[in-house]
Symmetry: D2
Subunit: 342 residues, 4 copies
C-alpha cells in the first residue's frame, strides 16, 4: 500500500511520518510541501534519519501515485483535494476541519468560506473511533477531529450520550503552542511566549461548532458549550477541564465512564487529574472523573497530546480501522515509547 | 519606623524585601528564618546587593524591636504570633491564611487545626484594598489575601456585590509554581515540572472557603464556587477564568466593572484576555470582561502576579494604607519597573 | 532635555523606554517604528501603562525635535542616521554595530556592507564605561557595545590590559533568545526552541572582530579569540566562560580583577559561577575568577542581562556619563528592582 | 533471560524500563527502590501502562533470581553489589561511576571513598562501544560511561587516538537538569531553575578523571582536560563544545572523524552544530567538526541525550553486545520513535 502525506512539513505531517515509519507493510511514497518543494526530508528536519529521510518534498501530491492519503493542509485546499481523491474511489483522512461539521453554515460563520460540497460533508465520517468506529471502518473520507474537540468530547461523551448532563457545559482548556502550527508568529516568538500564559478567543473559538454538532449527534438534543482555551508555555500537550450539572452521584458517574470506555485501548482512567507529560508522544487520553457535591457539578478532566490523540496518532488509529488492521496495531507500543519521561 | 519580616527567606518574604528596599523613610531591622538563622541575606540570596544585603536572619523576630510586622510564616505559627503582636498594640500584616476566614470551622475542615482565637479572627480585616480599604485604614491586624482569592474575587466583586451573578460560579485558574513556596518537592523538581501541566486539588482547594466567605460578606447571600486550579510551568503569574450566569448584557457588564473600579490605581482593563507576563513583577490586576450571549454566561478573566498583587506587593499596598501613605506610594513605579519584557 | 528613540518597538527600544520612564528631568518626545507607525505605545505593548503609554510611533524621528538620540535600528540605517545627527552637533548613542569597530574591513567581511564614514568611525567612542568612561564623557557619538562583547571583554579586560593572558583566548558563551531580536523566525518559534539548545555560527560570529579590536586597543597587541556562542532556551540572560593561559596564581588573578574593578558600581564578584537570573533586569555584570592549576588555565565566568548591561541599561549608563549625571544615577535602584526572583 | 534493575525508580532506571519493555525475548523480573519498596511501578509512575506496570519495587534485588543486572545505584553501594554479582559469574552493567576509572586514587580524591576492589576495577570494561566494543563483548562487568564523558570522548576520540590534538583540551558542556538525578534539591526547584543558567563545579568536576583516564588509554599519553559544565533549563539533553590545537586542516579533520566512525550506527555527522532536541529520547550522538584557521583550533561539537546515549540507551547498547545481539537491535527504531518533535 502506497501512502501520500500532503502538507508533510508541518507538525502533524512530521508526526505522521514518525509514526508510520515503523509500519513495515506500507510505503510512504509521496510527501508534499509548498515551502520545501524539492528538498529532502532530512535536509529540512536533520533529526530524521529513519527510512524515509531521503524522500523529496513535492509541490503537490499526485493522486494516481498513491493508494491512501493523509492531508495536513489548510482548510480550504483540503475541501478541494478531498473531493478530488474521493472521486477516484481512494480513501483519505483529512486532518483539517474541512469535513468535520455537517452544518455548512458553520463554515461561513467560523471559517470564513462557503463550503462547496455539502453532500460530501454528509458522507464524511468524524474520525473519533471511541464514538464512531463502526462508521469509520467503511468510510472513504474521514475527517480527523480537532485537538480541543477530541479532549472535550471524550470527557463528555458518556454523560451526554446518556443525557445526564444538564444545562450549559463549561470547558476550560489548556494547549501547548504546537497546536498553533509551525508558521512563526509574533505571539509565539520564544522570548514573548516564554513564561507567559493567557486565554484567547474567549468567546468564539472555531472548535465550538465542531464540539456541539458531534455531541448533538450522539445525544439527540442541542448541547451548548461555553469554551475558553488558554495557551500554556509548553510545546505539546492539552488539558480539558469540563464542568456540567448532573444528578448522578460521584460513584454513578465514575461507573458510567468506566463502563462506556471499558474496552478502549487508548483511554486510561486516573485517580488524580492527569498530567500532559503522561500522554506526550502517545495516543492516550487520560481521564479523571469526579463530582463536587457542594455545587452539584461534575468535574471531568482529560489530557491528550495535541499532536498525538489530538491529531496524528489518532489519524493512524483511524487508518488502522479503515485498512482492517487491529485498531491499536503498532500504536500501543509507539505510545509507550514516545513517552519521554522526565 | 522599624519593620520586621518573619519568614523572610521564602518567596513572599524576599519579594517584600525587594519592594520595601526602595522606601527611604522606613528601616527593615529584623528578618527571621529558621532555615538560615545566622546567615546574611546576601549569602543566601547572592543577587541581593541592595541596602539590606548585610542583614542577618534571626531565628525569631523580637516584637519589642520593631514597630510594624509582616509575617510570611506557615498558618499555625502565624495564629500565635499575630496574637502576640496584637497584644502589644502594634500592627501586623499576616500573609498566611491564619486570619483570613471568619468561619472557624473552615480551619478545622480545610487547614487541619482548631483556631484558638476566634475573637481576633473577627477583628482582623481582609486585606483586599479594592473591597475593604476603609477598614484596612484602621486595622491593627490585616489578613493578606491568598493569590487565587485575589484573582478570583477581583473578577467577581462588581457582579456579586450587585447581585447580578446567578447560580454557581465556575472558576478555572492557572498558577505558576512559585505559588507552592520555596521548599523543594518531587512534583516541582525541574525535570518533572518542565513541559508539564495539570489540575490539582480539583474539588477541595483551601482557597474555596476564603473566596466564598468574602463574597458572601459583600453580597449578603451565600455564594457557591466551583474552583479548579491548574499548575502551569512558569515561575510566576496567575490567571483566573471566571464564568457565571447573568441577565446583564455585555455592555452593561463592562460598564458595571468599569464603574466599580474607575478609581483603582492597580486595576487595568484590557480588551483582550490578559497575559501573565503583562503583570509579572507588578501590583496590577488586569481584567477582561465579556458575555457569551449564546449561553447567557459572563466570562471574566483576570491576571495577577501571584507573588505581587497575589501576595507581597498587595501587602505593601495594605502597608501604605495602614501607615497613612498614599495607597499607590512607590508601588506604581515599582510595578512598571518590575515588568521585565520580554 | 528631549529624547528620541529610533526603532523603539524592538526589545532594546522597549527596555530603554522602561528604564528612562523613571527619569523625571527628561522627556522622551519621539519614538519611531516602521512596523507600528501611527500606533500608540500602549496599543502595541498593552503592559506599558507608564507615563509614555500614549506616545505615538512615528515612521522616522525628526532630528530637529529632540536633543539626544538613542538608535535601536539595523546596522546600515544607523550608519546614515548617526552621521546626520552628528552633523547637527547633537549627541547620539547607537545600539547597533555601525560604529563599534575601527577597522572598516570588518564591516565588509562580517556585516556585508562598505562603511561610508570611516572618519566618523574613529571619532565614535566604544561605550563600555569600565574601559572608556573618560572618552565617553565628551563623546558625541557613542557606539554601545554588543552583548557578547560586553560579557567577554569585562571578563578579559584586567588580564589583557596587564598582558598576563597568553595565546589564544577561548570563549564559550550562552545567550537567551531575546538577543536575536523581536522578529519571528522559524528557529525561534516557541515549539522549536522549547527544550532545545545548540551552538551556532561556531566559527565566524560578527562579534569576534568587535572583541578583538577593543582588546587590542587596551593591550597594545594582537588578541586572538576563539568564540563559540550557544542558544539556551530562556528569554534573557548571557553567560561568557572565558579560558586563557596565564602565569598568575589564582590569588594574584583574583587580586588583579578586584583591584581593577574596585570602584565599579555595576560589577559584582561572586564566589561561585554567576547565575543569569541574578542579573536579569539589571545593569550588573557578575564575575567569577579562578585558576585551574592542573592545566595552567584561568577560568573567568561572567553573567549579564543581554538586554541590560548587554544593551539598554548600558546605554543609559553611557547616557548618564554623557549628560554629566552620576554614572549609576537611577540605574542601581532599577537594577535591584528589575531582578524578579524567583 | 531474566533481568533485574536495581535503583529502578530514578531517571536512568525508568528509562531502562521504557527501552527494555519492547524486547520480547527477555523478562524484567526484579526492580528495586529503597524509596518505593512495596509499591507497584504504575502507582509511582502513572504514565507507565506497559507490560511491566504491575511489577513491585523490592527493597533489594536478589542475585539468585535474575540472570543479568543493571545497576542504577549510588556509587558506593554499587562497588559492593557489582562485586557480589561478579562472584556468581553473572553479568552486570553498572550505571554508576564505581568501576569506570582504573586509578583508585581518583575515588579517594573525587568521590570521597576508598575503592575496596582495585583488582575488579581492572577487570571491568568501560562501556563505550565505539571505543571498546571488542572488550565489552566478553566482559562480565561493564562500567557504563558518564554522560559528560560520553559526549566529550566521542568528540575527541579520533583526534586523540591519532595524536593530532596538542596541548590542553578545553571542553565546555551544557546539561539538562535530569543529569542531576530525581532527588529534589533547592537549586533545581522549578521556580529557581526556570529561566536560569550557570556554570558549576568549574574546576573539579568528577568526570574529569574519567575522561582523562579513558583518553590516556586510547592515546598512550597523558591528556589534560579543562572542563566547565553548565546547567541549562531543559530536562534532557547535553552539548559538549570541544576545542583543541591541531595541525590538521579542516578537511583532514573531517575526514579523520568520518573514517573513524564510518560504521557506527549511532553516530551522525551534521553540517551545522547539533541540537539537543535532535537526539532527545534517542541513542544518537550527533557530531559537528570544524577548524578555525585563524587560531589553529579545532572545534568539535557533540549532542547526546544525557539519559539516552549518556546513560540508559547506551547501557542497552552494551547489553546487546554482551548478549550476542546485533548492537543496534531494537535501539535504532526506539531512537527514531523517541525523538518527539517539536
Amino acid at each position: 500500500m502506497k501512502i501520500a502525506i500532503a502538507g508533510a512539513s508541518g507538525y502533524t505531517g512530521i508526526e505522521l511520518l514518525r509514526i508510520l515509519s515503523s509500519y513495515t507493510d506500507i510505503e510512504i511514497n509521496q510527501i508534499s510541501s509548498r515551502k520545501f518543494t524539492g528538498k529532502k526530508l532530512k535536509d529540512v528536519f536533520p533529526f530524521f534519519s529513519g527510512k524515509y529521510s531521503d524522500l523529496v518534498f513535492q509541490e503537490d501530491i499526485d493522486i494516481q501515485e498513491s493508494d491512501f492519503f493523509f492531508l495536513c493542509l489548510p482548510h480550504e485546499p483540503s475541501v478541494e483535494l478531498v473531493k478530488r481523491i474521493h472521486e477516484t474511489g481512494k480513501k483519505v483522512i483529512d486532518l483539517s476541519a474541512a469535513y468535520r461539521i455537517k452544518n455548512t453554515k458553520a463554515y461561513t460563520d467560523f471559517y470564513g468560506f462557503e463550503h462547496k460540497y455539502p453532500e460530501l460533508l454528509f458522507k464524511a465520517v468524524y474520525g473519533l473511533p471511541e464514538l464512531f468506529r463502526d462508521s469509520i471502518k467503511n468510510a472513504s473520507v474521514v475527517a480527523n477531529p480537532g485537538c480541543y474537540p477530541t479532549a472535550s468530547i471524550l470527557g463528555l461523551y458518556p454523560a451526554v450520550k446518556e443525557n445526564v448532563a444538564y444545562g450549559e457545559i463549561i470547558i476550560n482548556a489548556l494547549s501547548g503552542i504546537s497546536g498553533a502550527g509551525r508558521e512563526p508568529k509574533q505571539q509565539f516568538h520564544y522570548p514573548e511566549a516564554f513564561g507567559d500564559s493567557y486565554a484567547y478567543k474567549p468567546l468564539n473559538h472555531r472548535h465550538i461548532p465542531e464540539m456541539e454538532s458531534v455531541l448533538k449527534e450522539v445525544s439527540g438534543s442541542e448541547v451548548k458549550i461555553r469554551f475558553t482555551p488558554h495557551i500554556i508555555p509548553v510545546s505539546r500537550g492539552m488539558i480539558a477541564t469540563v464542568t456540567f450539572k448532573t444528578d448522578l452521584s460521584k460513584d454513578q458517574l465514575v461507573e458510567l465512564y468506566r463502563l462506556e470506555y471499558r474496552y478502549e485501548p487508548f483511554i486510561r482512567f486516573s485517580s488524580e487529574p492527569p498530567h500532559i507529560k503522561y500522554v506526550t508522544g502517545s495516543n492516550f487520553c487520560d481521564i479523571f472523573v469526579d463530582k463536587d457535591e457542594r455545587t452539584g457539578l461534575a468535574v471531568v478532566i482529560t489530557a491528550i497530546d495535541n499532536l498525538g490523540k489530538g491529531a496524528s496518532s489518532q489519524a493512524v488509529q483511524n487508518f488502522n480501522i479503515m485498512t482492517g488492521r487491529e485498531e491499536s496495531f503498532n500504536l500501543l507500543e509507539i505510545s509507550h515509547l514516545g513517552i519521554v519521561y522526565p
